[in-house]
Symmetry: C2
Subunit: 332 residues, 2 copies
């Protein structure tokens, strides 16, 4: 493989990883974000659980139409907290969030809650209880709660050259977020009731027309990319929100005669590209930000990016696996 | 695969990873370790480079026979620093360390520098200059400098069942560190002048009788495990030193007729074990601490440990890729 042309390659792999994991490296769980009152974050606390499950901007807290199920600390308190009141039973917590989010949507204060508001819920990672604590997907970033997604890289080997080739979709031009950008072969947010693997099986069917039996048999769990970003231009909605994110990663090697085809309208086309083609598109900045990180993780695991050819190897690796500022299991 | 017996499995994968990555999660580069004077660490600074390349215990600083090539700040200063003086040229820095370490060895103040003192040098990760800055391997932990190692997991697939089988060596009983413990198939420290890949190629030859041509053709770089440990009982020498460590990881799938054989006397035997056998040995605590982490990383990348069967999946993943408190590239 020839090295990327420095004249056309505007970015490095580390630039791409930093663009995804772009929230400052501060200890969110222990220290205020900053001493300026406008930027000291509020910790989101569930009943009978001292661990912060999210971090909210003061500008969001002040506009939220809080209900009696929530107690908001005075701005002078340290830490600042938003405490969910009542029973620690997930049903009670879920009802409190549902009522609040409906009120916020009705009041029209957040563009991310503008209609149409899809009835899809995300799980609060690490929350305790016998069933998931869940909040409406569109509201997760407002609360600074971690999101969960599943990303699967589908690849094949050229029958003639044995060269690795990767299936790369381009997002439809009408998508609200990241229109026209390149994406992971198959990817989607994980609904509250789902496991990461169940998610990738149905997304592969819906987005890429891949048979469920094939994916269930051959998809391999290979790790996860974790990062914290500040919501920005491409993501829609508010800017500067704390967005911790987990992308569970899967690899699927398919035979050369398997063809990925768009099905649900979110993808405009699938390209079967060589590693060199994918790398050039990455370095041109054509991938959706977090999909670039997933592809770089794939390149590392497959010996394409190595300690010998990448000076930032170690920083890339650690930033692809950032410790999250929220609990990731009920026990932690 | 059957789950481990809870009666015999004393440890979890997270326990094993925490035993390796066991230094407190504090921001070493920004905050003193603690406010107690005995525990405020000294930053090791190279000439014309403000980035700390190591963290030294006060008990080590006070016993080191410093030469005029080093300036040690008063105990009351914050941060406490050990500054290498003189030219930023690696040759000048290397000479300063050589003289100091020989003096410390002659004075007999550190058990890790007791004879026989092997003439093997490690690179100071991320140091600037046209050639490596290097210090004697036996002294790296005293300075809290990061170590580099290469670890390769060698595996095959049973011709009859297609089941994954892993080559697991047991360390010789006469080894100074971790005698009789299980190890990565092939592993070794990376000399200052070597690349991670060059290291694994010659270690595979010396430790496991694997032909260089085979390793050069088929070994695949797959990432790295990074951690910070406090030196303890198993490691020999001082206790409580800050030991940042990088283990570059390689996978090597071999044919069923390839047999690993001890050669240099550091390994007493190689076992070809099923995943279930390896897991049981891991959970019994039979692996050398950092080799357990490398094996768990292998289990994650190969879909053996998954988000569905491991509640601590995300915490394990992030702890296997800890951001290091020292620079990992010249640019950073």
């Amino acid at each position: 493989m020839s090295p990327p042309e420095t004249t056309t390659a505007a970015k490095t792999y580390l630039d791409l990883v930093k663009a995804c994991d772009n929230f400052p490296y501060i200890d969110l769980s222990r220290t205020p974000y900053a001493e300026e009152p406008e930027t000291v974050l509020y910790q989101l606390l569930l009943p009978e659980d001292p661990r912060p499950h999210g971090y909210m901007l003061p500008s969001v807290v002040s506009r939220m139409p809080w209900t009696p199920s929530f107690s908001v600390s005075p701005p002078t308190s340290r830490p600042r907290t938003v405490q969910v009141l009542g029973s620690p039973d997930p049903a009670s917590i879920n009802a409190a969030f549902d009522t609040l989010i409906k009120a916020a949507a009705a009041a029209g204060v957040f563009s991310s809650l503008a209609p149409p508001l899809y009835d899809e819920a995300f799980r609060v990672l690490g929350a305790r209880g016998s069933s998931p604590v869940r909040v409406l997907r569109a509201s997760v970033a407002l609360f600074g709660i971690a999101s969960r997604g599943s990303h699967m890289t589908v690849y094949t080997r050229s029958p003639s050259t044995d060269e690795l080739q990767i299936w790369v979709p381009r997002r439809a031009a009408h998508m609200r977020t990241w229109p026209g950008q390149l994406d992971t072969s198959v990817a989607g947010g994980i609904a509250a009731h789902e496991s990461p693997f169940a998610c990738i099986v149905h997304e592969a069917d819906e987005e890429a027309s891949l048979p469920r039996a094939l994916v269930q048999r051959d998809a391999r769990a290979v790790g996860a990319v974790t990062y914290v970003c500040a919501s920005g231009a491409g993501s829609g909605g508010e800017h500067g929100l704390v967005v911790p994110d987990v992308l569970y990663c899967y690899d699927l090697e398919v035979a050369a005669d398997v063809v990925l085809k768009p099905r649900d309208g979110e993808v405009q086309e699938f390209n079967l590209w060589s590693v060199a083609q994918v790398r050039e598109a990455l370095l041109r900045g054509e991938f959706k930000t977090n999909c670039a990180s997933v592809m770089i993780d794939f390149f590392i695991r497959h010996g394409i990016v190595t300690p010998e050819n990448e000076p930032d190897y170690l920083e890339i690796l650690t930033r692809l696996h950032r410790p999250l500022p929220v609990p990731t299991s009920a026990a932690a």
